[in-house]
């Protein structure tokens, strides 16, 4: 009994984890409302409900069926489809189909974890890196260039490809970092615009001689040789795309935990982010901290880009990280969702990846547009960013001061 009470108290005292989970619930509620408001079948059922006795039951059933089907297909499309899975267990066949949802979610989560950690590091320093997408693009281009234009044995070639990706991102991070440190140019403007520079630079490369696939007029690169690819975890024959990029993502997570929680430079990042005046008075070199933070962030964003290419497509074309595939932008929201901390970011990435992958499945199965997944993602972030709202809705006790700061940590200029 005392245990239950303890749990209840913990729930009521609104820890950041509670807030995140409740935000997920609220996000799903928002999604359900939108499904209801946009599905003619449900609306018609309710219209009928007011004309004939007993029909509200029917309308309710139609509502639950539709919303349920939508959310079920998100889950079955991103994690596991129980009947299919059971079929595999009993017959030993169809494992590819059973594991594809999870594999796809992980595949998509890999670069997202890396890019979100990149963004989170600048947030912790009190800086905004809106340019992670551009940095990831540069990383991808640099990686593909080294992979396709240099000839080396694999033991050297793959590491060098990944390093090239980091280097590409570092260049992308250095520009806003140095500009801010030495001219005061606001990093939000610089990084935001830099995304366009990176996109068009990529197009330029894809249409120019060394990188473009020979005898092509389209913007498409050569394909990375096998030795530079991040191979599928279970072999090419498995048909599952989840690849050794997962090792890279884990390594980045461990690095980020060390950097932010255990390293001296990370301590200086956090002091600078939380109180720049005290940082200065404590002898922390503001310029060096700012530039270092941007270099590390850019480098990781670049690594996210190269990990994505090397693990999945193995070439890039003009759609690389464009539009809804722009993980560098999704990373900003994921970082916020994960409170700019590595472990939180890993969970946030898995959730977003699942919604992304499951959303496509939902569209295929129920005809509800994939964009609903994006709406749910956005709603979750809005709720996480306004813990006061969540608290009011669920009548939680006064938030700890710490959790109120979630939204604002790292938002200083």
């Amino acid at each position: 009994m005392a245990r239950v009470r303890g749990l209840w108290d913990r729930y009521r005292s609104a820890s950041p984890v509670t807030i995140a989970l409740l935000a997920l619930v609220l996000g799903l509620v928002v999604g359900a409302v939108i499904i209801i408001a946009t599905t003619p079948e449900i609306l018609n059922a309710w219209r009928g409900a007011f004309h004939s006795w007993g029909a509200p039951g029917h309308a309710l059933k139609v509502t639950f069926d539709n919303v349920g089907a939508a959310y079920r297909s998100i889950v079955t499309g991103s994690i596991v489809d129980p009947p299919q899975f059971w079929h595999s267990v009993t017959t030993g066949r169809g494992w590819t189909a059973s594991l594809t949802p999870l594999s796809e979610t992980l595949t998509y989560a890999i670069p997202l974890v890396i890019a979100s950690i990149a963004v989170g590091i600048t947030f912790q320093t009190g800086l905004f890196n809106i340019g992670a997408n551009g940095q990831a693009i540069l990383g991808g281009v640099a990686g593909v260039a080294v992979a396709t234009l240099v000839h080396l044995p694999m033991v050297l070639h793959l590491p060098l490809t990944l390093l090239a990706g980091i280097a590409g991102g570092v260049v992308g991070g250095a520009i806003p970092g140095l500009l801010k440190a030495y001219t005061g140019a606001h990093e939000v403007i610089v990084t935001l615009m830099f995304n366009y520079v990176a996109s068009y630079f990529m197009l330029f490369c894809l249409l120019s001689t060394p990188l473009q696939l020979p005898n092509q007029t389209n913007a498409i690169s050569r394909t990375m040789p096998g030795g530079t690819q991040l191979a599928p975890l279970f072999g090419t024959a498995s048909g599952l795309r989840v690849n050794y990029g997962i090792v890279v993502a884990l390594a980045v997570t461990v690095f980020a935990i060390w950097l932010l929680d255990r390293s001296s430079i990370g301590f200086e990042f956090r002091v600078t982010g939380a109180n720049p005046h005290a940082a200065r008075a404590s002898g922390i070199n503001a310029r060096r901290t700012l530039v270092t933070s941007f270099l590390i962030s850019g480098g990781l964003a670049g690594l996210a880009g190269v990990t994505w290419v090397a693990g999945t497509t193995h070439y890039i074309d003009q759609n690389f990280l464009q539009g809804s595939a722009g993980i560098g932008f999704t990373a900003i929201t994921v970082s916020l969702l994960g409170r700019n901390r590595p472990i939180g970011i890993v969970w946030g990435s898995l959730l977003f990846a699942a919604l992304e992958v499951g959303g496509s499945n939902m569209q295929a199965n129920t005809g509800i547009p994939y964009d609903l997944a994006t709406v749910i993602q956005s709603a979750i972030v809005i709720f996480v960013a306004t813990p006061v709202l969540v608290k009011e809705i669920f009548r939680l006790r006064t938030l700890r001061a710490e959790s109120i700061k979630v939204a604002t940590a790292g938002w200083g200029s």
Binding site: A274, N275, A281, S282
Partner: protein, 503 residues
């Protein structure tokens, strides 16, 4: 308004900040709350102002129990509060700040500034709170910013005003002006709950004094009680209110400034040719009315402000215009004037704040990796020896009372290997017991053979602590005198005139 608190209890986790507190404030009364750092004064005031909810107990206004769910409720019930740390928007004008949150509007939601200005003028006139409604708050000296806070607090016809350590940041002159204002407020029947650690002014202005220790009411006494009695009630032991120290044995100069010229943000030479040498084994106290260049002088010494001309020497090394890092590493300890701005990171733990400027130094880090165990051990030791009241060394600094935050900073600076120590207002906001302790520590630093420069607007502190007293006026040192010099003469130097005897 008659206010009564009955059995107020407020807990933070396992810590009981207020323990069944009973308190009565009669109309027209100035009621002072006295208590150690962390005794629970601010917590009680926050409960009264609706910012915190009591776990037990009730609040009665004119005999009627009320529920104050938020500060809006408190304001509607006629309670106004001026917080320990100001809550103004620096870039807004006085008028905008005063109406913030309760904006008077005309049709179509347009702000009615004319009315706001008129309201401010009438409050100003009635209580002698002169301030121009149209200037921006950041351009005002602290004393006037506080008036803005008071006007804001009075704005909604408050009958009870809560002043949480209003005099901690004021010059003695400003504090006197505040006392006069408080008197004029109570003359119209308003009551005031007043918190201060300065026993002199507490005895001077209060009608009743309630002493709190560890969240409990220890007793209620008339202002005729002696300072020693009050101090003993607060701390629970005898406290020495004078600094006991032996004569200084000064040796070679360690911290020296020569012909220093420093400009402020507007480009005025606020330090205008200052030369001063602090020798090993002595305490030089820098006196002066706030705003005569002391702040900028300290900033120049610590590397936080550009030196226009002249030089700063530390241990014989020229550190003029060096980075704060180099100056810290050269052995300068610095207790900054604005602790929350420059001295601490409120969102970080006590332990982290205790290594804020030495995170890379052994044993706190090796090869760029922090040794969190060493950081913790250090924190345990410091918290113990400086008697910092905190639930744990992992608690964020923001959860500590104002005085305990200051103790964390003092502990950090005094526990580092030092050549010289520069301390600005080192005991601001500390209770008498802690002041005694900090003073003793500063004397210890001196006796270990270091140079100490104290900047304080408390004449008492300056005279008690200094082995020599330097007086600053309009950017220049107008005299360096012995602490036995009469207060009148030091006062004259502070206004730029030369006392008869030293002429």
């Amino acid at each position: 308004m008659r206010l009564e608190l009955r059995g107020i209890t407020k807990k933070f986790g396992s810590l009981t900040a207020n323990d069944r507190i009973d308190l009565v404030v009669e109309p027209g009364q100035i009621h002072c709350l006295l208590g150690e750092n962390g005794a629970g004064k601010s917590t009680l005031m926050n409960v009264l102002f609706g910012l915190l909810q009591a776990d037990e107990g009730e609040i009665l206004i004119d005999g009627e129990p009320v529920r104050l769910a938020n500060s809006g409720d408190a304001v509607r019930r006629g309670i106004g509060m001026v917080h320990q740390h100001f809550m103004l928007v620096p870039v807004f004008s006085v008028a905008e700040n005063v109406v913030l949150g309760f904006e008077p509007t005309r049709s179509l939601d347009r702000l009615d500034y004319a009315r706001a200005r008129e309201d401010i003028r009438s409050v100003s006139r009635e209580f002698g709170l002169e301030v121009d409604p149209d200037v921006t708050v950041e351009s005002l000296p602290i004393g006037l910013q506080q008036r803005v806070e008071i006007i804001k607090a009075l704005g909604h016809d408050a009958q009870l005003l809560i002043l949480d350590e209003p005099t901690a940041v004021l010059t003695p002159q400003e504090a006197d002006a505040l006392m006069a204002i408080m008197r004029s407020l109570t003359a119209t029947g308003k009551s005031i709950l007043f918190i201060s650690h300065k026993l002199k002014e507490v005895r001077h202005v209060s009608d009743v004094i309630t002493v709190i220790r560890a969240g409990r009411v220890i007793g209620t006494v008339p202002p005729t009680a002696s300072e020693n009695e009050l101090a003993a009630m607060m701390v629970g032991r005898e406290v020495s209110l004078v600094v006991d120290k032996t004569a200084a044995a000064p040796r070679e100069p360690v911290l020296e400034v020569r012909d220093l010229v420093v400009r402020d943000d507007r480009g005025l030479a606020v330090v205008d040719g200052v030369s001063l040498a602090v020798r090993a084994g002595e305490i030089v106290a820098l006196a002066g009315v706030q705003g005569n260049g002391q702040t900028e002088l300290v900033e120049a010494i610590t590397g936080l402000r550009h030196v226009e001309s002249g030089s700063v020497l530390l241990g014989g090394r020229d550190v003029t215009n060096r980075s704060p890092r180099e100056i810290l590493d050269a052995g300068l300890g610095h207790i900054p004037e604005d602790r929350q701005r420059d001295g601490a990171v409120l969102s970080m733990s006590v332990a982290d704040n205790l290594v804020l400027n030495t995170p890379r130094r052994a044993p706190f880090a090796r090869h760029g990796t922090r040794n969190l165990r060493a950081v913790r051990d250090n924190a345990e030791t410091q918290v113990e020896s400086f008697d910092v009241r905190t639930s744990s060394v992992d608690a964020p600094l923001s959860s500590l009372s104002g005085g305990n935050q200051q103790k964390v900073i003092v502990a950090r600076e005094l526990s580092r290997p030092l050549e010289a120590l520069v301390a600005s207002q080192p005991t601001r906001g500390l209770d008498v017991g802690s002041i005694e302790y900090v003073h003793r520590e500063i004397v210890r630093v001196r006796d270990e053979g270091h140079a100490v420069l104290i900047v304080s607007s408390e004449l008492d502190e300056v005279m008690a602590l200094g082995d020599r007293v330097a007086v600053m006026f309009q950017g220049r040192i107008t005299g360096v005198v012995d602490p036995s010099t009469s207060r009148e003469d030091v006062g004259l130097l502070m206004t730029g005139s030369t006392p008869a005897e030293s002429r």
